[in-house]
Amino acid sequence: MSKKNKFYWFEGVTEKGVKSLLNEENSKFRWLRPQKNRRVLVILMALGLVLTSMGSYWPTLKTNLGMSGPVSGVVYSVAAVFVILAVIGGYSFLRIAVRSIADAPDELLDERQIAVRNTSFRYAYFILGYIIMVLLVLMIFAPELQMFQSEGNDGSYLVIATMFACASLPSMVMAWREKDI
C-alpha cells in the first residue's frame, strides 16, 4: 500500500482521513455515531445556519427593537463570530459523524456507501432547491414589502449561510437518514 496520503482536491478529503474514519477501530468521536446524536447535530447545524443567515437581518431587527449604540454593535460582532465558529465546528463534526462518506470519492467507498452517498446528494439537491426558491422569493418581494432596512444590509451572512448549507446538506441528510454509519 502506498504511504503517500492522496489529497482529493475536488472532494476536499484525504485518503488517510477517510480510511481512518471508516475504520471501526478508530474510537475517536464514536459518540457521534448513534443516529440520535447525529440527528441532534443536524438540528443544531440547521439552527446555526438559520442564525447565520439572520445576520443579514440584524440592522432591521436592531432598528425594530430600538437597539443602538456601541454595546449592541459589540454584542452583534461577538455573536456573529461565535455563531460562525459554531457552524464551522458543526460542519466538521458532521463530516466525522458520517465518516466523510458524503465527501469521499468512489474509490474509497464500497457499493452500498456509494448508493447511500448518491441518495443523500439527491435529497440535498431537492432541499437546496427549496432554500434557493425561498431566497429568490425574498429577493423579489422583500424590497416591495420593505422587509429589510437598506442601510447595513449587504447580504454577506446570507451568502455565508448558503455556502455552508451547500457544503453540509449531503452530510446532514445522511446523518439524519442512516440507521448505521
Partner: protein, 81 residues
Amino acid sequence: MLLLMSRNPEEPVYNRIEEARAALGLSRQDLADKAGVHYQTIGYLEREEYSPSLVLAIRIAKSLNQEVSELFSLTPIKKGK
C-alpha cells in the same frame, strides 16, 4: 415527508450469509475484508436491508465457498436449513 420516503422500494434479496459466515467461523470484519466492503455493509446484507449487485454477490459467495444460488434467493429463506 421527503426524508421519510421509502428507502428501498425494490424487491428484497434474501440470503443466508450470516449462517454461512458463522459456519466458517468468520466475523463480519473478516468477511468484509475478503469481499472488499465495509463491515457494516455485511450487516446491512445479513439484515436483508441492502440488495447487493451481482458482482458483490459473486464475491461474497466466493468468500464463503458457496454458489450464488445457494446463498441468495428472491423468496424468503428458512434459516438454519
